[in-house]
């Protein structure tokens, strides 16, 4: 870059700062590092696209991972569906819970305990996903299976609970529960922060007017935090879309598109499918898997960009930051 960095000039009309060699080296290296990040992101996209093209251009008959008559799009279709569906289910469970927890920590729990309770929820974020996978497959799935059986027997007329129930409990609902647990700390942490930034005067004004605690929260905290909740959910969604190991280990998948939550035929997700197929993939199969990864990259990129856009817009308007 040619333009020299301009030092901060708070006082009136300072003399032009002297450009020393050290300054120039240092600022250039920081600039390089910053540019490197942009380059990395571009490289991620470029390499994925480069390695994906054979999957789309070669004759699908030559690619052994496709069953006969399948093309890339029919292969990736159910995977995209599974990715979106499982993430949506996870979000549906996690968001209300996370808002509840965030409120509990910010407005209900005794003040002395609040920070400690926050750490406890953060502990969930520290558990590696592979451990969540082990836990989901070995502990959670057998635990919920009888419940699934009961649901299909008594509420089987609802399409979501269509029988037959899976014999092992490794359904998309179980996977979504694990995902929900995994994104819970992210959404909670962000919501908590936003709730804590609610102007105290608003809250006190509401209480002074005789509002109950819940009415105060509904009138001041939630409206103030709405944008924060939306963006936190989007970030959680991005995480759920890309989560790999937990889904790969928990879900019993086959390439179908189905909304049924409790049966043993579940759609797989892009990330889980890559993790399961990649170790033994060779030749064009690798390119196909990378191409599905590119799809995932594109989806998460859009979701995250929207989330960041919402956050940034809120920053400008609310003045909270």
């Amino acid at each position: 870059m040619s333009s020299p960095p301009v030092a901060r000039t708070e006082s009136a009309q300072p003399p032009r700062p002297v450009q020393r060699l050290g300054d120039r080296i240092f600022s250039t290296s920081t600039l390089t590092a910053g540019a490197l990040i942009l380059a990395t992101l571009a490289a991620v996209a470029a390499f994925l696209i480069l390695q994906s093209t054979p999957a789309l251009t070669e004759n699908p008959e030559d690619i052994s991972i496709f069953t006969s008559g399948e093309t890339f799009w029919t292969y990736v279709g159910p995977l995209i569906f599974g990715t979106l569906w499982s993430a949506a289910l996870a979000l549906l469970m996690a968001v209300p819970l996370a808002i509840g927890i965030a409120l509990f920590i910010s407005h209900y729990a005794p003040r002395k305990l609040a920070q400690g309770l926050g750490y406890v929820i953060d502990l969930l974020a520290a558990v590696p996903s592979v451990v969540f996978g082990l836990w989901g497959a070995n502990t959670l799935a057998p635990l919920v299976q009888p419940f699934y059986l009961w649901l299909t027997e008594n509420l089987g007329w609802i399409p979501l609970f269509a029988p037959p129930a899976s014999g092992t409990g490794r359904t998309i609902l179980t996977a979504a529960v694990v995902l929900a647990v995994m994104i819970l700390p992210i959404i909670t942490a962000l919501c908590r922060e936003v709730f804590l930034q609610t102007p105290v005067l608003h809250e006190e004004a509401a209480l002074a007017l005789g509002a109950t605690r819940w009415e105060m929260i509904r009138m001041t905290v939630l409206p103030f935090g709405r944008a924060g909740i939306v963006s936190a959910s989007m970030l959680g969604l991005g995480r759920a879309l890309g989560e790999t190991m937990a889904v790969a280990m928990v879900l019993s998948s086959s390439g179908v598109i189905s909304f049924a939550l409790l049966t043993s035929s579940n759609p797989s997700t892009i990330a889980a499918n890559i993790a399961l197929s990649f170790p033994e993939a060779y030749g064009l199969n690798v390119n196909v898997l990378i191409a599905t990864g590119l799809m995932l990259f594109a989806i998460t990129l859009v979701v995250n960009a929207i989330a960041r856009y919402v956050i940034n817009r809120r920053k400008e308007f609310s003045g909270a930051n």
Binding site: I101, T212, T244, A271
Partner: protein, 379 residues
């Protein structure tokens, strides 16, 4: 004044307004007009106890009738439901609809927290109880080379994890730190905005995509099918850099401008000011951020599975051959169990326990560092 993101908890509704139930009037005292029509302090607890008793009785009878195990989960769920309904109805009768709703929400919010604790507790109990079976010295002194069936250890995985995470740290910390310095001290205009935006976007890259990127990058130079420790490290640093940038940026912004201005006033060049004044002031926070970033990537499985593969041998060279890591070890021993399945499962759980302990330790140290050094900033 800089606003920290971890603002101290300033408010809690209790103590203000009608959310707090007043104590019941003592014997012989004048009836307290403010307490009339209010539930006593102990009432919610009584409702909770009654619900617990009722649901325990229901499930106890069910157990006696059908002869199965006592359904603990069912009892707890039913208790929660009954408690919610009970408190709502009681409050509705005594206090009116608005208070009843308030109490109901209080119950809901509290139970949301308890519900979130359930998986955490269950997970730790499971990992502890199943992980201790093989949590012995052999686990930390053996690799899996020449091991058939029982025995064996995860030393090769631990070493692989350390090497790959180490390289990832060496790559990410300078880039991340320099970028954050750029953003805080130099960056203005479109480029800085673009970097901020894309760092945020990068935070959301799925880990498996980072793995695919590293694989694709190395496959171009070394041919298809390549699995290298350094490829795993590259994948990890893609995931780690945004974390380092964000946390260091926050910490650098906390450094008071007065310090910089004082240094400038003494004629110190800007780069020296940053190196000698700004960085040392914020080093504790930056260390914490880096450790948390390490803790995040050390548990990553998918990118390493794709980029570094798995092996049963010790491998010290990140530039040659596959490299095992703890998370991948857990995964691969879980999915490909041999004839003696229990031995593989025991190893998987023991490795999972080791991994959790490492991550917890990193988190703990990070928080300790933050606590020990941050008061210097006076906040």
């Amino acid at each position: 004044m800089a606003q920290t993101t971890t603002a101290p908890l300033q408010r809690s509704g209790s103590g203000v307004g009608p959310g707090r139930p007043n104590p019941a009037p003592g014997p012989g005292a004048m009836p307290n007009v403010y307490a009339s029509g209010r539930l006593g302090k102990s009432v919610p607890w009584i409702v909770l106890g009654v619900s617990l008793l009722v649901s325990a009785a229901i499930f106890g009878l069910a157990q006696a009738a059908s002869g199965g195990d006592f359904n603990v989960v069912g009892t707890i769920v039913l208790t929660g439901l009954l408690n919610g309904i009970g408190i709502y109805l009681t409050a509705l009768l005594v206090e009116g609809a608005r208070q009843a709703k308030d109490r109901l929400v209080t119950t809901l919010v509290t139970s949301a927290f308890i519900v979130a604790l359930a998986p955490l507790v269950s997970l730790f109990i499971t990992v502890l109880s199943r992980g201790t079976a093989r949590f012995d010295i052999q686990l930390f002194t053996y690799s899996m080379r020449n091991i058939v069936g029982e025995g064996g250890g995860v030393l090769h995985a631990i070493v692989g994890t350390l090497i790959m995470t180490g390289i990832a740290t060496i790559i990410s910390v300078p880039i991340g730190l320099l970028t954050s310095i750029y953003l805080v001290e130099y960056g203005r205009g479109a480029l800085a905005r673009a970097i901020t935006f894309f760092v945020d976007v990068m935070t959301g890259i799925p880990s498996i995509v980072a793995g695919l990127f590293a694989y694709a990058l190395f496959a171009i130079f070394f041919g298809p099918g390549i699995r290298l420790g350094v490829a795993g490290a590259v994948a990890l640093s893609v995931l780690m850099i945004p974390g380092v940038v964000r946390s260091s940026e926050e910490m650098l912004r906390l450094v008071p401008n007065e310090l910089r201005e004082a240094a400038f006033a003494l004629g110190v060049p800007k780069w020296l000011t940053i190196l000698k004044v700004v960085l040392p002031t914020s080093i504790a926070g930056i260390t914490t951020g880096v450790m948390l970033a390490i803790a995040r990537v050390i548990g990553e499985t998918a990118p390493l599975l794709v980029a570094a593969g798995f092996t049963s041998n010790m491998n010290y060279s990140p530039l040659e051959g596959r490299m095992q890591s703890l998370p991948v070890f857990v995964y691969s021993s879980y999915v490909s169990q041999g004839t003696d399945a229990q031995a593989y499962l025991d190893r998987a759980w023991a490795a999972a326990l080791t991994l959790i302990l490492i991550v917890m330790a990193l988190n703990l140290i990070a928080r300790l560092v933050a606590r020990a050094f941050s008061p210097k900033l006076g906040r």
